[in-house]
Subunit: 221 residues, 2 copies
């Protein structure tokens, strides 16, 4: 596949590697946010950022004047990593404990987008965070658009890594009188907290009440 | 404070910055895993890893022979970032949407640990992931210890960034007929899934049944 390159090839535990585009896109879409790595004066930095995917482009946004966006906009190489934690894997022996997870690594050099693409990118960010929200809220003004920088990264050099399923105990340990298995984990929403200055009579929208991060059907309700 | 340095000073939204050691340690301890950034041939890479903190040392572990551990062990500069997502912040306007989160960035050059420190580090990793587990499981054998590399990073150059509370809408938008507020998010555990080969009669341990990631009392049950 075009997006399999030496730099994103999974070398440790290659049985966990996935290179299919639909697998990579599904993880990027489900992850609420990502971690962006960049280099400044030889020192790597890793910063949490909100991303959004539109087709084969990943958008990242920030405030102009920030070191991060300035560096991203300079076209320097970056790494975007999105990780979803799916569970704790409890084996009978300490060293075989693990976690179930899905992660994606995307490498590349971002480009700055023009005003029209910037608006589409910011719309995609709101859709990514909370589908249904964008139709209700005020769109960015021209001034607000100018106050936001957006960079785009082509999803070309990318790979996914997935660990799922039960612990893989050594045969010698299976008879130990110790519970073994998986504790599934997911991100869940609590009761929405209305703003203090919320106008009377505005109910929690259905897209908020029904919010859940994840693919269609939960493995555990 | 000793750990406030130019490179970890929060420049964007400095009102979110925290430099107190107890704040930094609490975030590192609550985060189930972290993202580690390193540079290979000019390209930054960001990889999810499980960490554990012991006093002012952060431990990271991996398999020998992997590029990651080899690079970490070379003493090259790395960045460890741990992020906890606490909620979606829904404002009346698209650009003022945000997320509540707590994150920590630690910079430094890791060192390889000796066998004795390695064992203590791996014990700390199990304690970090699931308190109560370590007493029940088989400890690593000498061979298994040799098959695991551990690096240590001094928590010296570090900062935290925290966003909490309600949306900060523009006064002009407050009267819009749109719900605004916070959707709290947390990581929750589903029903434990026993391994297929689990011996009969082994109940789910209390530390598994009661597992929750987070500080003492949940804001939303």
């Amino acid at each position: 596949m075009a997006n399999v390159r030496a730099r994103t090839e999974v070398r440790r535990k290659p049985e966990r590697a996935r290179y299919e585009r639909e697998v990579i896109e599904a993880i990027l879409d489900e992850a609420a946010f990502c971690h962006v790595g960049f280099v400044d004066d030889g020192q790597p930095f890793v910063i949490p950022m909100i991303h959004a995917r539109v087709s084969d482009t990943l958008y990242l946004h920030g405030s102009p004047g920030g070191r991060l966006v300035r560096l991203l906009a300079s076209g320097a190489p970056i790494c975007v990593t999105a990780t979803i934690l799916d569970g704790l894997v409890l084996a009978r022996s300490a060293p075989l404990h693990s976690m179930n997870y899905r992660s994606v690594v995307v490498l590349g050099r971002p480009r700055v987008v023009d005003e029209q693409e910037k608006l589409r990118a910011l719309e995609a960010v709101v859709d990514h965070v909370l589908p249904g929200r964008r139709a209700e809220v005020r769109a960015p003004s021209e001034r607000e658009l100018k106050q936001t920088d957006v960079v785009a990264l082509q999803i070309d050099e990318a790979s996914a890594k997935i660990r799922s399923g039960p612990p893989k105990d050594s045969p010698d340990d299976v008879d130990m009188p110790v519970w073994a298995g998986v504790v599934p984990l997911r991100t869940t929403a609590g009761e929405p907290i209305p703003a203090d200055d919320l106008r009377d009579g505005i109910a929690v929208p259905s897209y908020v009440a029904a919010y859940r991060r994840g693919p269609a059907a939960p493995a555990h309700p």
